[in-house]
Each structure stands twice: as C-alpha cells, then as structure tokens.
Symmetry: D3
Subunit: 115 residues, 6 copies
C-alpha cells in the first residue's frame, strides 16, 4: 500500500467515531458529496479533477488523496491529471508547484491500484 492510500485509511476510524456523535452533519455532507460526483453536465471524472485542483490550492493532502482516487476510479487519464496541475499552478503559484507533484504521485499510486 502506498502513502496516499495510508492517508485515506488513517482518516477512516476517527471519521466513523465523529459520525456517531454528529450523524446529521455527516449525512448532509454525504448527500452533497454523492450529488456532486456523478455524471451530469460535467462528467464525474472532470468533477473529481476539479476537486483535485481545489485540493492542491488548499494544500490539503488528505483531500488530494481522496479526489485523485475518485478521478482514477472514474477513468481520468495521465494527460488530464497533468493539465489539472497546470490549472492549479496558473492560479496557485508556488504552493501549487509543491502540492501539484504530490497529486501526481498520488495519481500513479492509485492508478496502479485501481487503474
């Protein structure tokens, strides 16, 4: 298992505990999540990549891991991933040139696992 899969695995148990305490908060969050990442006017893969672009500008590793996995599962290609990092660099500058390569590593890791 690679480090981005670990990142996601680590979030699982405390999220489950929190959800037991604040179930409706998580229910609403899950409803939004499900509604967003399905094919529509934009494909699910495109929207997962869009989420990766935001995650890179936020510098959030767990978010990068989660949405890169989503993008891979929906069939995003290497070229699409690279161009997503391009958008993030145009808008995010220096930090995106640091977190973009992390998204790239995550992509390769999840591609090997799910691709």
């Amino acid at each position: 298992m690679g480090q981005y899969q670990d990142e996601l695995k680590k979030i699982g148990p405390p999220s489950a505990e929190l959800r037991a305490h604040i179930p409706e908060v998580y229910d609403g969050f899950a409803t939004t999540h499900r509604a967003v990442y399905k094919d529509g006017a934009l494909s699910a893969a495109t929207k997962e990549l869009m989420a990766v672009a935001i995650a890179i500008s936020e510098g959030c590793r767990g978010c990068i891991a989660s949405h890169v996995r989503g993008a891979v599962r929906h069939g995003a290609t290497e070229e699409q991933m690279a161009e997503t990092v391009g958008v993030a660099i145009q808008l995010g500058g220096g930090p995106a040139s640091v977190y973009g390569p992390e998204a790239w590593e995550a992509f390769k890791e999840f591609k090997e696992r799910y691709g």
Copy 2:
C-alpha cells in the same frame, strides 16, 4: 456594463503599469496562462471552469470574473457552471455558498455580453 466586467476593467491599467516595471515576471505569467487555457486532454472550457472552482474557494472576485469570462467565451453552459459551483461547495463549504452565487451572477453577465 455589469459589475464583473467593471472588476476586470479596474485591474487593467495598474497591471499595465506594473508590467512595465517587471516585464519578465508578467511574461512568464502570460506564458503559463496561454499554455493552460487552450484545448488539450481537457477542453479550454473545462479548464476555465476548474479555475472558477479554485477562484471560488479562494474567495477572489477578480479571479472569478476573469475565469467566468474565459469559460463563457469557450462556450461553457449554464448547467456546467452550476455543477462547478457544486464541486466548490462540496470542498469549500460556507464561503463557497457565498462566492458560488457571485460566480453565477458573473456567468449571467458575461453570457449576455459574449454568449
């Protein structure tokens, strides 16, 4: 002229003055910009919408105006714009529910002008 067009118009003159002082900085920035927002593995419209999604999470009005205009010019549809806000809300929470509607207003304004 609407308020988001004004927003962009206001940035023009000081940007030109700055560019005269630091031309290479702006040249590099323009090179990146040109390279990103053209059709590739992802369409130009998709990448402009991706930029809008980041702009919403950054809460940057000028960026919203600039990239919504780009998305409209490349033919993004109302449905695609709405789903982009959806991604931004999933990742950005409260602030995205404030800046997302701004992107929506900007979309209508630019659609009337360029659509």
Copy 3:
C-alpha cells in the same frame, strides 16, 4: 437596511437559481447547516460565534454577515462577540484585525434589527 443585511440579500436570488439546478447539493448543505446550529453540547449561539470566528479568519464578508446574524438571533451578547474577535485575532493576526471590526459593525447592525 444596513450593509450586512444587503450583503445577505444580494446572495439570496442567485442562490435560489443555483439551487434549482443542483438541488441535492444544496439539500445536503442545508441538512448539515440545520444539524450544526441548534442547541446541543454547545449552545446554538456559541456555535454561531464559532462560525463567525472562522468567517473572520477566512475574510469572508458574506459568511460574517450570515453567522453574526445567527449569533444575534440566538442571543449572543456584545461581550461574547468582542471575545470572539479576540480569539480570531490571536489565531488570525493582521487580517483578523481588519475583518474582526467588520464583524463588530455587523453585530451592531443586526442587534438593532433583531436584538
């Protein structure tokens, strides 16, 4: 009507239009919202103030307006509002010393309207 009420009023119509396009996204968001801002182990007023503190550190005026209104409606006092700004300044530094006073103005405006 004051400027923070205007801020909220402006977000209303485009939010309604967006909601018509992406209803489930907004449903989930509304579920989370309702679940959070009710009395529990922390009072609704405390949680609205907590949201104000985050809104100040995000520099999001619409969020400040929305959650200051919520805090006022749930009976938050002037002293509590001031101490909330204190927390935001400790964690947020310079920008919080700019957006904190905005929250203060919003508090006075909503207090006059709802207090």
Copy 4:
C-alpha cells in the same frame, strides 16, 4: 507520548531560539494569548474550542494540537469537541472533513494525558 504531543514538543526549541532574537514580538503574542484564553463572557474552554475550529479550517496541525490541548485542560467534553468539528465542516467543507478527524485523534490523545 502521542503524535500531537510530539508535534508541540518539536515546536518548543526553535520557538525559544526565535524568542531570544525577537523577544518583543513574542512578548506581544504571549500577552494576546494570555488575554484571550481565560474565562470571560465566554469560558476558556469555549474559546479554546473556537480556536480549534479555526485551526481545522486553516489546516494547521500544530495549531490543532495546541488548542485541543488547551480545550482538554479547561475541561471540554467529547460531545463539545464533536460539535466543534461539526461547525468546522459546515464552514470548511472537504478539508475540514480531513482535519476534523485529526482534531478528534488529538482530543483522545490529550484526554488520556490530561483528562
């Protein structure tokens, strides 16, 4: 010792060295800190939790560790901690669903140590 205690321990020595170089900067910072986190119109525990909520939205692990410890020392309960994460998720979306569980892990760790 757990990982969040380690996080705080690691910051200690370089902070002391920096303080020797810029003592007044740190004095001011310490004055503000002391003034904020004591009982007032809001309890010290509430204000530490408020700081945790901001720290989650900033995605700052060291800040999460520091203020979760403060909250535990002032007697914050598990339910209050969970509701704090709820506020952070409502305002912070995706990243808060990643850093919120970190705050939860930190809470359990400090509770075992100080609770």
Copy 5:
C-alpha cells in the same frame, strides 16, 4: 481622500470600540506590531513591503492599505513596490495578479498623500 485611505478610516472606530472591550488582546497585538515595524537587521520599509506581500497573498484589502501606507511612510520606492508584487505573483499566482494591482493603486494613492 482616496479609497485605500477610506478603507483604513473605516476600520478605526469599530477597532476602538473593540479595544475598549478586549484591551489586553489589542495591547499584545500593538506590542508585536511596534516591535516588528522598526529598523533592525531588515529596514522598516523592507518589513512593511514584506507585510504587503503577505497581504496580497491573503487577498486582504485593509491589510494591503495599512502596510502600503507603512511602506510609503518609511520611504519605499516605486521600483521596490513593483518587485514586491513580483514576489507575490511568483508565490501567489492568479489571485496575486488581482490583488497586486490593488497594492499598486494604494501605493500611488499614499505616495501622493505622504510621499
């Protein structure tokens, strides 16, 4: 009076009111502020410009106004201001290309007033 002076003027009264409620919080903040912006290993002008660079990446207009004024009062030149925007653009990408020009406008405004 120009718009950036207005921006600062607007923050004055609510800050004074807040300070009356949480005096020690503001005392600490003022101590840090005084300690930072004086000549040392880096000149006061350099440190105000550094603060402008951060303010641009935070997208905080009030902070831009405050620190551009400080930079002008300490004798920062137009060339130095332009190069500061350059650093902000390298690190901050798109949003810095929006807020950088605001800092430039503020510089001209304060230069006319204090220069």
Copy 6:
C-alpha cells in the same frame, strides 16, 4: 541530509515528469521565478525572505524549504531570518507561530549545508 533538503528532493522527480507533460506551463513558471529572485531594487536575499514570509503564512513546508534555501544561498543572516518570522507572526498569528519555527529549523539546516 536534513528533513528540509529531503522535502525538496522529494518534489524533484514528480516535477520533472509533470514538466514533460506540460512543458510550457513550467517554462512560464520558471521565467517568472528567474525574473523575481535576482538583485534589483530589492536584493535577491530580501526577496527570498519575502517569499519565506508568504510561505509561512500559507503553511506550505515545501515552499518554506525552497525559499529558505534561496535566502541562505543569497547570504541572508540569522537576524534577518528571525525578523522575517516576526513579520509573519504579526500578520499570520497562531499558524505563523507554528510554521515560523519550521522556517527557523530549515534555516539552520541549509546554513550548515550552504552557509
């Protein structure tokens, strides 16, 4: 080798792979980078420290590593580094009191290597 050098080393290979996919994006980014960090109205060392100040407020470790290295290579002194952290704390509050000490550790590490 120390941890901040490792941080930079880790970014190298995925950045090279990404650059092969989106060469013009990286070319533009490199042009801006070169244009910014050379002596001008502000010295290269000052601009690298300015970048460190932004990196601290963004909480971006890779950026801290990269620009602290740049500052050390251009001869920045310990006192200048400490005062840079001071500016970051004044503007960035709590998170800067966490990431500032990281910049300090990075400074010592690179000083030993390049100083």
